[in-house]
Structures are given as structure tokens and as C-alpha cells.
Amino acid sequence: MTLHFELVTPEKLLRSEEVHMVVVPGTEGDFGVLEGHAPLMSTIRDGNLEIYKAGATTPETIRIEGGFAEVNEKGLTVLAEKAEG
């Protein structure tokens, strides 16, 4: 029950790990991605990305700016222009 999550910025590949759930700040509203999510592509607004590791109750937040998120059968990929966290 894990979701493969990658966070990439133009500078480098920031994260590549297995997590439980990620909440992405989409342009049209936040959405959570769990394993087995339907294919989706969305632009993101500036905001906080919340990463829930397996079993963790408090999320880890990373501030991201500009970019988009893609969900496919391999997992979730967030391409952000800027990320810090």
C-alpha cells in the first residue's frame, strides 16, 4: 500500500521515495493522492505539498512554486519550479 512519489525541480531530483499519501495543491483545489489513483494531470499553485509517510500522522510539508503534477500507473511525479522544505 505505498505510493511512489517523485519531486523534481530544474536543479535536481529532490525526492524519490515510497509514501502513503501526498496532498498536492492543485490549481483547482487540493487533492490527495493514494496508491492506485486514476491517471491525472494538473497544474499546481504555489502552496504546501503534504507528504504522509506510512503510519505517520503528521505530514511533512514542502513549499513548492509553479509546476504541475502527474499521476500515472508508476506513481506521482511533481515537477516544481521551486521547492523548499
Binding site: 525541480t9 536543479e11 483547482e28 491517471p39 494531470m41 497544474t43 504541475f68 500515472n72
Partner: protein
């Protein structure tokens, strides 16, 4: 025949040159490692973005209303050559190779009756192209140290390019830079950035053939992504350039150090020979003087 003193001075000066080139080589090697890591770290983003743009572009039918960055202006008359080089020399054939590729490209286009405009990023490329196309350079940027360029800089250049494109200054933009293959091999590369060149492989991503949900719709995402793609491709080119520059510089300085070493050896032999000749002459003078007594 140079005097012994002159030879000695010459040897000294070659030695200090060798010291400088050796130091520059070591600096380049240190910077290369960082630049190379940066270039490689930036590749996943650029590749992924390219992939996404390609798959999106494959889905959207090109029509009058589709974004110009994708469909182009419908003409192919005015070509803009974006030539990315560095501001500093002493890097072997790095700058020359890029400029040469751009120049050949420009000559071909001119031969086909197209209008060529040149946009240079980096002083060295400008210097070379200015000789042949003095009137066609529309804008030049001097980026300074390539290794210190951030994404924000690339973004700025991209915004400027896009603004010019939208103002109808050109129809097609091609980017020239040097791809970093290895320390010994850097390949000057031409890449079309505006309009987006959709690779033929775009159609071969049926894996996600399942209905993908787009938020907002495809067109808006594409409109958002295309300018970003230009910036990312520019940024990637800068990164590749930074690594290539250091690689090329390292090789060039290594050669220079070796040449200086050879020269020192030759001058030393020459110096010793002359010294011996002088001693022999002196001895002969003393002996023949003694004999005469």
C-alpha cells in the same frame, strides 16, 4: 644565437606560464565536478517535462486556436539563432565550435533566402558572429560565470524570447549549445525550441492510454507548460554549457601544461649546450695561451 642570460629568462617565463596553466587546469577540474553534477541533476526534470509536453501535444489537435508556441506562426521566414556560449576564453575550442555550428546554420538559411537574426548569450559567441553578421545580432546577454546561473536567470531569458516571439519578431528559434558527453567530448548541438519540436516518438506512449483526467483542461495545461518548457530547455542548455566549458578548459590547460613542459626541456638542452660551448671556448683560449708562452 640567444645569449645564456636570455635563455635563462626565457626558461623562467615558460616555467611560470606552466604554473599558471597547471593551476587553471586544477581549478577547472574542481569546477567541472560540480558543473557535471549539476548538469546531470537537471536532466530528469527536462526529460520528464519534454515527455509530458510531447504526450500532451500528441493529444491536442493543432488548430488556429492552439497556442502559437506549439503550432508556430505558420511561417518559417525569420529564423532566430540563440547562441549560448560563455563569457570567458581559454577553453579550447568550446566557444568556437558552438559559434561555427551556428554560423554554418546561418549561412544555410541565408542561402535558402530566409532572414536570420541572432541572439547571443555569452560574449565569446558574440565576438565571433559579430564579424560575419554584424547587422543581424538583435540582442546579447553577458551571463558572467556559467556555473552560477540559476533557473531564475534562464526564466528571464525565456520570458524575453517569448515576448519577442509574440511580438512577431521571428518564426522559428533554434538554440545552440554544447552537450556535455564526457571530459574529452563535448558536442555542439542545435535544438529547435520555438515552436516546440514534437518528437516522432510522441505517439508511442500508449501505456497511459487510459483516460487521463486533466485539471484544468488540456489546452490550459499546455498553455501553462509551453513557456515553462522553453525556460527549462534553456536552463538545461546553460547547465550543459557550464559543464562543457569546464571540461574543455581542463583539456586545453592540460595540453598547454604539457606543451610548456616540452618547451622547457628543449630550452634546457639548448641552455646546457651553450654553456658547455662557452666553457670549451674558454678552456681552448687558456690552453692555447699557455702553449704560446
Amino acid at each position: 644565437m640567444a645569449s645564456l642570460k636570455a635563455l635563462k629568462i626565457r626558461i623562467g617565463s615558460v616555467k611560470s606560464t606552466q604554473k599558471i596553466t597547471k593551476a587553471m587546469k586544477m581549478v577547472a577540474a574542481a569546477k567541472l565536478r560540480r558543473a557535471q553534477e549539476a548538469a546531470e541533476a537537471g536532466r530528469p526534470y527536462a526529460q520528464r517535462l519534454e515527455g509530458v509536453v510531447a504526450s500532451l501535444a500528441g493529444k491536442v489537435t493543432v488548430s488556429e486556436s492552439s497556442p502559437k508556441l506549439l503550432a508556430g506562426t505558420g511561417k518559417d521566414q525569420v529564423h532566430l539563432l540563440v547562441v549560448a556560449t560563455s563569457d570567458k576564453g581559454l577553453a579550447g575550442a568550446f566557444n568556437t565550435n558552438i559559434a561555427r555550428l551556428a554560423r554554418r546554420h546561418a549561412q544555410e538559411l541565408v542561402a535558402q533566402g530566409k532572414t536570420v537574426k541572432i541572439y547571443t548569450i555569452g560574449r565569446k559567441g558574440r565576438a565571433v558572429l559579430n564579424r560575419q553578421f554584424p547587422k543581424d545580432i538583435v540582442h546579447s546577454i553577458e551571463p558572467g560565470d556559467l556555473g552560477k546561473l540559476g533557473f531564475a536567470d534562464a526564466r528571464g531569458y525565456a520570458d524575453d524570447l517569448i515576448a519577442r516571439f509574440e511580438a512577431g519578431e521571428f518564426d522559428v528559434a533554434t538554440l545552440f549549445y554544447s552537450t556535455f558527453k564526457s571530459v574529452l567530448a563535448q558536442e555542439p548541438t542545435a535544438q529547435q525550441i520555438i515552436p516546440v519540436a514534437v518528437p516522432a516518438a510522441a505517439a508511442e506512449t500508449p501505456g497511459s492510454g487510459a483516460a487521463v483526467t486533466y485539471e484544468p483542461d488540456e489546452e490550459s495545461i499546455l498553455a501553462d507548460l509551453l513557456p515553462r518548457n522553453v525556460a527549462v530547455q534553456l536552463y538545461r542548455a546553460m547547465r550543459e554549457n557550464a559543464a562543457s566549458e569546464q571540461g574543455s578548459k581542463m583539456t586545453a590547460m592540460d595540453n598547454a601544461t604539457r606543451n610548456a613542459g616540452d618547451l622547457i626541456k628543449r630550452l634546457n638542452t639548448l641552455y646546457n649546450r651553450q654553456r658547455q660551448a662557452a666553457i670549451t671556448t674558454e678552456l681552448v683560449e687558456i690552453i692555447s695561451g699557455a702553449e704560446a708562452l
